[in-house]
Structure formats: C-alpha cells, structure tokens
Symmetry: C2
Subunit: 418 residues, 2 copies
C-alpha cells in the first residue's frame, strides 16, 4: 500500500522544530509493506493544505497528516478539512468528554482553547486522543482515506500505535489482526546475522516479516505478523519467536525493545546485584544512561568520574606506578579502576573507561579514539580495547554502549566477542 504524509506547521518551515513524525510513521508502517510516496512539509495555510491533499490523492489512496491542530491553529486545518470533505463543524459530545478527561488527568483547567477542540467536521469519524486534547480525525471519500493527527510527537506516536495503525491495516485487509515483537540482539554484525537467519526468513509465511534495525553495537529484530485468525497469529508469533531463540541463543538479550542500560539494569535487579561506575573519557555519560532509566536506584549507587589522574589515584586507588609504566589509557588502569570503585562504593559490579576522546591528546601508538574499558562482576573482571573513528561525541557514545555490552556479557556468562 502506498501513502503520502503531509506535515503542517509554520514552526517547521522556519526550522524552529524538526519533523520527526514522518520518520516515525514510516518506520512503523514499512514492516507492513506500506511505502511512503513522499512527505510534504507545508505552512498553516488553508490553500496550501488543500493543494497538498489534491497532490497526495492524485498519487496515493491514503494520506496521513500531522500538525495544524494546536488550540491556536484550529481556525485553519479543521475548516479546511471540513470544506474538502463536506459537512460542517459540529460540537462532538464524546470528544468534549475526552478533552475534559485529558485536561483533568494533567491537573489543568479547561479554557476556551481546549474547549474548542471538541468542534469537529461532521464528515469525519473521531478517534479519541488518549494522551492529548486534539482529536484524531478519519475522513473517507471515493475509497480514499485521510487521517489527521496532532503535531506533538508523543501524541501521534502513541495514538498511531494504539489505534491508527491497527485501524488502517484492518481497513485495507478486511479485519485482519496484527502483532509484532522486537528482539535485541548483540555480539553479531548485521551481515553475519542475516546469513544465520537466511533459512529462518525463507521459512516465514508470506503473512509474516522480519526487519533488521541496526544501531551502534546492537541490532533490533522486529517480527511482524498479520492474519485473519487471531489465535493462529498468536501461535505463529510464539512458534517463530521460539525458533529465533533456538537459532540465536544468548545473542538475544531482550524480547522487548528497550534501551541497553535498562536491559543491564533488569539483570542486576533480578539477581540483587549493585553497580558502580568509574569513568574517565566517557565523562559521566555511562552514569547518565543508567540513571535515565526510572527505578535505577534499585541497583545503581553512583559513579566516580575521574577525569583528573589524581582522582584515579586518590579516590579509586589506581597505582601511580601503573600509570607511569603503562599510561593512563591502558588495561591495568581500567582494571584497577573497576576494583577501586567497587571497593570505594561497596558494590558487586562496576564498569570503567579510560581513553582519548579527542580531538587533541592522541599519540602514534594511542591515536584519538583509543578507549580501554573494563567490567567487573563478583570475582570476574574482563577488559577490552577499542579504536573508534569520528568525533569526540561519537567516541563517548560508542564507548558507553560497548562497556555496557561488556558488563552484559559478563552478567550473561557469554564469551566476550563483538
């Protein structure tokens, strides 16, 4: 199925805000075989909106539209859609009740702007927005569908996932059911993974699909299914999920799409282990990723960011002799750092980094991008060195991911191979 995306918003055309909705929509519809014909970003302007819809319907039967629905913008998009699809703007009681409910949830009070959200074109079917006040509007004409959604990414993403995608798929597939599961895979590069899954992919029924979503250090695999019988779909999803586990074993570190720091954190919580971090070149980013996860205080106690060598020596107990003999970016130093921080902060586990994030500080033997890292869990300590190309920011980000992967491999008892 081909579709177009129209993104409305003056704030996008002056570059104040970057459109992320179209990318999110594409990522989540592509696995169902839905292809974007084009994305057009236009102003909050009635004529422009009408022209863009004409252009879109000339090439695709489905148009997804985001934005132009803020309380202060209501005077443009809704009347335009009303003129386009016919009918008049009417007060919708169910929408009014939903707006009131959403406003109450946020401990705010209704004002004229939010009240006006309950006015909708009589020609649309409203999908109630469960996380915002702007209603989602589904229009149909001559077998074509246009869905108008809010511009706030959180609202569009939530409502696409809960209602719009399932309804679109059902609309175009005569009441079929859909399901998907995401698996996080580590320790194997994409091309090798694709080889190992070649037979598996060929064994999938045509109603199921496997998508690869690689990111630095790990790959998310998304298994999708669409079938008319819900029980049959669930059974198929279970069967092929089990097959994936049989083929990939411990390389699958999560059956859900979640951040690496959360996967690591759940292992620690389950086993009642505590974690500390000792960071040099990553400069607090490991701690930042770990503490971005709600509830991390169950297992995370804190960090010593030892940017200065004196702190490595005085706080973490790294031997000055070791630094003198091997340099501060070295295996013995990162090993002493994990030992030191576990002792200092009294934890079971720790990770450490020491490297040259750049742009300065590189040497012929240790160029910019060289990072030593270690992980400790109980009695076991593992360490590795990496060379990262690219900017300071990239070195910090990659080293953070890799040291969390190193700890995860230790927690899972996997061999350390990347």
């Amino acid at each position: 199925m081909k579709y177009s995306i129209i993104v409305i918003g003056d704030e996008l055309l002056i570059g104040q805000v970057t459109d992320t909705n179209s990318g999110w929509i594409a990522r989540h519809l592509t696995p169902w075989g839905w292809d974007v014909e084009w994305v057009k970003v236009i102003a909050d302007d009635s004529r422009e909106i009408g022209k863009a819809i004409d252009e879109a319907f000339a090439v695709t039967d489905v148009v997804l539209m985001t934005g132009g629905l803020g309380p202060t913008k209501d005077d443009i998009t809704k009347p335009t859609l009303c003129r386009y699809f016919g009918g008049t703007l009417v007060h919708d009681e169910a929408t009014a009740r939903n707006v009131e409910w959403v406003v109450n949830q946020r401990h705010l009070t209704l004002n004229d702007y939010t009240r006006a959200q309950a006015m909708v074109p009589s020609s649309c079917r409203v999908i109630q927005n469960q996380v915002g006040t702007a209603p989602i509007m589904w229009f149909e004409r001559d077998g074509k569908v246009l869905v108008s959604m809010p511009g706030v990414p959180f609202e569009t993403e939530t409502m696409m996932e809960r209602e719009v995608i399932p309804q679109l798929l059902r609309h175009y597939n005569s009441h079929e059911h859909i399901a998907y599961r995401t698996f996080v895979v580590v320790g194997i590069i994409e091309s090798l993974l694709a080889m190992r899954l070649d037979e598996f992919e060929r064994s999938l029924p045509t109603t199921m699909h496997l998508a690869y979503l690689p990111q630095p250090g790990l790959i998310r695999l998304r298994l999708n299914g669409i079938m008319s019988d819900e029980n049959e779909l669930q059974a198929a999803m279970d069967f092929y999920s089990s097959r994936l586990h049989e083929i990939l074993g411990g390389a699958i570190v999560s059956d859900d799409d979640k951040p690496l720091a959360q996967i690591v954190g759940e292992r620690l919580r389950t086993r009642g282990l505590t974690l500390a971090t000792a960071e040099s070149c990553t400069g607090g980013n490991i701690a930042h990723q770990i503490t971005a996860i709600a509830g991390c205080s169950d297992y995370y106690v804190g960090s010593v960011v030892s940017y200065d060598n004196q702190i490595k020596i005085r706080q973490l107990g790294v031997a000055a002799d070791t630094i003198a003999a091997h340099g501060v970016v070295s295996e013995p130093v990162v090993r002493q750092m994990v030992e030191g921080v576990c002792g200092l902060l009294n934890t079971d586990c720790a990770v450490s980094t020491s490297g040259i994030a750049g742009p300065g500080g590189g040497t012929p033997t240790k160029p910019v991008g060289t990072v030593w890292m270690a992980a400790k869990c109980g009695d076991r300590v593992v360490s590795q060195m990496r060379h990262y190309p690219g900017t300071r920011d990239r070195v910090i980000t990659r080293a953070t991911t890799d040291v969390l992967l190193l700890l995860l491999s230790l927690l899972d008892g996997r061999d350390v191979t990347v």
Copy 2:
C-alpha cells in the same frame, strides 16, 4: 524571496534517517527575509525528482536540493539534473582535484566511487565542496536557480554557510555583503527581553535584523546585516553590538554561539579555577555536558555521582542528621554536597543537585520535578530550588542547565535571578 526545498533519499522515506537539512537551511535563510514555500521529501527516483523540480519552479524561483549525491546514488540525481537543465555529464578537472584533496585530507585512498564524483553536468557551475567529495552544483534557467547539495548535514551546513548563502544573497541583491553575530543571553525571559529591546529593534536600519532563538534557560540573539559596502556593514555591526551590550550588560554571557558548558568552562580557564561536580538526580549528565567540550581537562577534574545516600554521607561528607532532618532533597544537603566535593577533589568550584526526577518518588510537599541545586566558588555558595514539569528526561536536562547557569552567575558576580 520565496524558495522551495527538495530533500532526496530513500533512507528518509523509510524513517531510517531524519532530515535536519531543511530545518537548518530555513533557520539560516529566514533572517534574510527568505521564506520556505514547502519542503518535499522524495525517493532516489528520476521521475520523482523531475516532478518535484517542476512543482517547485511553478511556485518559487529558487530551489535548494539536498541528498541523492552519495557515491552509490550518482546514477540517479546527476543524470536527472543533466536532462532537466541540458548538457552532458563531463569530467571536471577542478572537481577531480578537489575530490583528491578531500580524500587525502581524510587519509583515505581514491576509489572508483569517489573518482566518479568528478563527473558533473556541463550545464552547471560547480561550487567545490571543501569538506566532502560530492560537488555542489548551481544551475540557472529562465532566471530561476537550483542548487544541488550533498545529504550529509555537516557538508551541507558548512558549504551553505561558507558559499551557498553568500552567493544566493549576492545573486539576488546585486553584490551585497552579509554579516551576523550571535549573543547568548541569560537571566531574562523572552517577553521581557523583547520589551527591553523594543526601541533597539526599531532603531535598526532596514538592512539589519534581530532574531530571537529561545531554548530552555537561555536565549540566543542573532544580529544580521546586509549592505553593499563591506566597511559600512562592519561598522554598523560593531555599533549595534555595542548598543546591545549597553542595554543588556551582564545578561549577555557570550558573543558567540556556543554551549553553556563551554561558556562556563572558558570563564574557569581564564581565571585558572578548577571545577568538580556532585550529582544526585542529574545522575552524571552535568559531568557529561562539561566533558563534551574538548579541552575541559584544563579546568574539570571529575564528579562524584552520589545516587545512593550512603555515598553522599561517606564520600561527600553530608551529615546523616541533615538528611534525617531535612530530607535528601533539601537546601542543606546540596550545600554540604558542594562543600564536600570541593574538599574531596580539591577544587575551587563545584555544583551539586538533589531532586526527584520521577516518575516515582514524589511526595505532596516534594512532588516529582522538585530539584535543589547549589554552586560554590571560593567562599561563596548559592543554592536554589526548582519545580520542573514533564518527563524524567526533561527534569534531568533542565536541572543540568539551571545549575550551570547558577555557577555562571556566581562566576560573573551577577545576582541570581531567573
């Protein structure tokens, strides 16, 4: 001047990459009175590219195009532009030399893909890409202009700034000169700032313009000028920059557009002061922002991320009695944290945070989003409390910004007002 932006790339239409070029271009051309009519994102497809150019020239005289020029994509965009504007693909010696120079700069070797970058339509004028191998191509027909640029944001941004924007402005304004300066302003909200600058803005000649770019906690002011006489332009920029300083005084913390952590860092470096951080709810993000700045080891020594209360007590010397009496999210605790970390890590300055980032942990008197923070410099310690609405991520980000602003106000000897 009205213009359209065409963004080419299959990877954008499947949501793998988010287009940031169109926003960047809009932000940098808007101050010159250039308005984007629309942005269209299309596939690497010859027919789609041709159609989009037709649509664009139907409504605007200028079309800026990014993407579709990667070494593996050359077979589509360049021949399409060649057919559209006439001529043939020819080997351009200057471009070949530039490609070779860029490749050498990166310590890489030429291959067939990079060599092919030197083939350009005979109907275009090449603007040599100083930071990449894909040439920038300037086409003209019937008084209309199309500029084709690479998709890599760094390349497009750099070359827009150095060459394309000045050339566009000159082309449409008969050889005028342009200049701009950015000022970072803190401690005043946008509406009050606009009131204070009302007379100043009205006093600007029509050839100059002031833009407000607010972000959480600070506002960037961009002053632009365009004049035919370069000396006159520089004199005017100097004059109005001085006026801004007279009006806003210490509220201008930088005459350059740079991150807050860098502005703070430069103050510390100039005065030979050292800094440590003691973070609880911000969980390492302050350290991460500070160490994202190259050269921070000149003034930054490290951090104690004391997520667990025992670390606040044992490492930072916070009194257990204080925590029992006032709670861990309290003014006495963040004050003891800065004192403690300065002593422990032997620095002149420090910042600290303690708060409830959420979503759990809130109480009626200290709801989620409550953050106490302190800054110390020499003998002076200042502290403040903030309530932030929104998600965990947002609380962490805002608290990080505000505690850096608190330290900056202390370093600058300004009254602490936000």
